[in-house]
Symmetry: C2
Subunit: 193 residues, 2 copies
Amino acid sequence: MEKRPGGRSARVRDAVRQATLVELAEHGYHGLTVDNVATRSGVHKTTVYRRWTNAEGLIADALELARDEPWPVPDTGCVQEDLREIVRLVLRGFTDPVEGPIASAFVAAAVQSSGAARALHDFFVARLDQASAVVRRAVERGELPAPTDVGDVVRMAVAPVYYRLFITREPVTERDAERAADAAVAAARAGAV
Amino acid sequence: MEKRPGGRSARVRDAVRQATLVELAEHGYHGLTVDNVATRSGVHKTTVYRRWTNAEGLIADALELARDEPWPVPDTGCVQEDLREIVRLVLRGFTDPVEGPIASAFVAAAVQSSGAARALHDFFVARLDQASAVVRRAVERGELPAPTDVGDVVRMAVAPVYYRLFITREPVTERDAERAADAAVAAARAGAV
């Protein structure tokens, strides 16, 4: 959609995205409307309708932008430390008072909208690939056996945090997050992943 | 609420519950209304309003009944086989053409309603406790080290299935389910859970 990165089109897109995130944080997926995003962003309503169509389009675009943002993949030289940090980052992303409600709103949107579900899938595939680097490096330096399914080690490490947050709705501490990372590493060391 | 188990009150409750499940399967949480459940169950609308109040109340009661139903906790004498069977049961519960949409609707309801979230929490706490028996028995017969956090072994085994289904929205095979169970057992054997 952008003609010139950083140009007017990019500024409009960013304004709409910021407004989408604030609306999501305040009203959740069901309160997300093109009209409200247009008002909050100061972008003309017809422009928002033309480029983003509806709430699904707004969500998908916000996730696409989030997917391409750099995030701090750790590289401590120890896969257990790296994975602990990744799982802590995941947990903080959902418990942070500002970011948390937005991240939770994306998950909620995916439950209610197939378009949002596809966008969330693409987002997580990209994130899993980036996070897998810490496991790939561990295999390369002989810390974990080859072959190891590097994506599954990351899934095993982060899944219990999502499970507690969105399925069983149990509290999650940083210690729970670290224990999940440790267990994933132990399973990988045993050649079970 | 029941005055006599198996009496009129229990029959009404069961009819309302069955109607709730069918409505959930057909229309999802957002299509679940007291009016539709009353019509489908043949129970008078004022009765449904008085006893269940709203969609949240209908969901909570259906989950309470589901929580108390027996389910086949395996006991093969081998914790890896037991856990594999549990994770396969979880997966089938969501992929079954009849049961799957209902189970998914409960998860979706919890994302959108705090009352449904509390009911789902209570349901899962009960299920985790029942499933933990397979790990407790393994510790007792010396197959897994003591101390092992028996609940966390079950969480680790099932979490990747929920993660793929509801977060990353990736396909899940029975092999994926079994690998998650195997990894949880390997981590427990290594004393990491």
